[in-house]
Amino acid sequence: MDTFSLLGDGFAQALTPLNLLLLLVGAVLGTAVGVLPGLGSAMAVALLLPVTFGLDPTGAFIMFAGVYYGGLFGDSTAGILLNTPGNSSAIAASIEGHRMALAGRAPQALATAAIGAFTGGLIATTLMVFLAPRLVDWAALFGPAEYFALAVFAFAATATIVADSPVKGCVSLAIGLSLALVGVDPTSGATRFTLDQTQLFDGIAIVVITVGLLALGEVLHVAARGRRGAVTAPAVVGRPWLSRADVRLAWPAWLRGTGFGVPFGVIPVGGSEMPTFLAYSAERRLDRRRARPRFGRGAIQGVAGPEAAGSATAGSAMGALLALGLPTSATAAIMLAGFQQYGMQPGPLLFERNADLVWTLLASLFLGIVVLLILNLPFAPLWAKLLLIPRHHLYAGITVCCGLGVYATGASTFDLVLVLAIGLLGLLMRRHGLPLAPVLIGVILGPLAETELRRALAVSENDVMALFDSGITRALYGLLLAGLVLAVVTRLRARARRRAAEPVG
C-alpha cells in the first residue's frame, strides 16, 4: 500500500529525539492552555504560533500537532471540575462531567474524557490518513465557482445554522468579512480600507485577530464582570482508574461519539459544538431507556460521547484542512495561518509539493494523541492543579502571553495597539452575545471567497449563473438550503415547545 509506505516515512521523520521533544513540549503547552478556563484549543494554537517561529517547518508542525490535540485534551478539565468549559466544544461534556465531579468521581470523569479524546482522535486521524488522498483527487475537480460555493456554505452554516441567533451570527460574519478586506487587494493591487497606514497594507494578521478576539477579549470580559464568577476547584482525590462497569458503559459511547464527530470535521460549520451536542443528546436518549437512567446524576456516557465527538471532529478537520485547504473550525483556521507563515498553501498541491511534510505531520498527529493519553490519564489531577492559580495571576499571565504572541510575530508596536482594539471589540461582542466563530471564519475564508468569486465571474464575463453551473456547486447550495430549512424548522418547533411549557407572564 502506497499510503503505508508514505506514512512509514512520516513516522521515520517524526521519530527523532528532537522532534519527539518538540511534540512533548507542544503537548504539554497545549494541554496547559486548554486547561485554563476560558481558553480552548483555538487559543492554544494562536498563542503558541509565535513560539514555533524559531523552528524549521517540520519541527514547527510537529509541535503544532501536539498543541492542536493538547488543547482538546485539556479543555474539558476546567469544565468538569469547575463547570467553566474552556471552549464551547467542551460544554456538552461538562454537563454530566461536572455532576460526576460533584459526586466525588472527578478522577473517573477526567479519565473518561481523556480516553474519549484519545479514541475520537485516533479513529478520525486513521480515517483521515486513508481518505486524505481521495479528498485530494476530489479537490482537483474544484474550480473557482466550487471553492466560492464552499466558502458561502461555510459562511452561512457558521453564521446561521450553528449560531443561536441568525441575525447576530450574520453580524459577526460581516465584522469578519470587513476585517478581511483591509489591505492591498491581491487581484488588482488597490489599497483598501488602510487609512493610509503602511502597516495595514498586508492586512491584519490572523494572529492579531485571534489573540485579540479570543484571549484579550476574554481577559477584558473577565475584568468587566468584576468579582463575580470566582470559583474554587474541588479537590481531585483518588486514583483515576475506571471500574469494569464504567468501561462497559463508556466504550460504546466513545465509539458513537466518534461517529458523530468525524463527518462534522469535513463540513465547515465552525467547529465541534454541533457534534458534541448531538453526541450528548444521543447518549441521553439511550439512557432514558434504562430502568434507572443515570443522566442528571453524573452519567459517564455523557462525558464519553461528547468528548470523543469533539476530538474526532478535530481529527477530520485536520484532514479537510490539509487536503482541501479548507479550515472548518477556528483552530483549523489558525493552523492555516501557520502554514501560510511558511509560504505553504494547504490543499491538493500541498500533497505534491510538500508531501514529506504532510506525512510527517500526519504521523506526528498519531504520536501526539498517544503522548497526550500518557500525559493526561495518570496526571489529570496534576493538570487540575493549574486551576488553583489565583485568578488575577492567571489572567495577568494570559495578557502577557497575548503581548508576547503578537509582538513575536511581527515585532511591531502597531500590531500591539491593533490587538488591543480587537480585544475591545471582543469584549463588546461578548457582552452583546455575538458569536466569535463567524468572525474567524469570515476573516479566514473571506479573501479566498473574494478571489474565487471574482475569478469565476471574470471567466464567465460577469454571468452570475456560472456560479451555479456544475453539479458540485448545485449540490453544495442544495445542502445548504436543506440545512437552513432544517434549522428554521427546529427553531420554530423548539420555540413552540417552549411556549407550551412556559406559563404566560
Binding site: L55, I91, V171, A223, A224, G229, F277, H393, R454
Partner: protein, 187 residues
Amino acid sequence: MSGTVEQDAGGLGGEPPEPAPPGGAEAAASRGDWAVVALLLALGAFLAHGTATMDVPENSGSPGPRFVPVIVTVLTFVLAALMAAQVARATAGAGVRAPERSAHGEETDWRAVGVVVASFLAFTALLSPLGWLLSAALLFWGTGYALGGRRPLFDAGVALSVSAAFQLAFSAGLGLALPAGVLEGAF
C-alpha cells in the same frame, strides 16, 4: 464562555439540538443591543466611505476591487436594519421580558477594564525603551491589580519572575530576541 450551563437537549428527537450557549435558550436582541446597531452603522459608513474613495488601478478587471466591499457594505446596512428591528421589538416587549434579560445587561466594571487597557498601552509604549523584562512585568502587575490582586509587593515579584521566565525561554530556548531596553548589557 463561562457560567453555569443549563442544557436540556433531551427530548429533541432526531433533530440537531440547539447548541445552547450559556446565558439563555433564546439569544434574541435585548435593549442594550443598540450598541451593536451603532457599531454596524459605523462599520457600514466606514466601508461605504472607503469604497467610494478607493483608488482603483486602471487595469483592474471586472469585477474590480470594489465589487466585494460593496456587497459587504450592503450586508452591513441590512443587518443594522434587522438588528434595529429586533432591538425595537425587545424594547417594546421589555415589560414582559425585562427580568429575564437583566442578567445580560449586568453592571460593568469599567474601571477594571480601563486599568487593563491602560496597562496594555503602557506595555506597548514602554516595550522598546524599557525592554521586555520591565514592561511585561508592568503589564502583568497592572492586569493582576485590575482583576483584584491586592498584594502589590508579592504580585510585583510574581510579575518579574513571569516576565523573566518568558525572556529566558524565548532567548535561550528558541533563540528569539525580545527587546532588552534599559537593561541592555546587564545580562
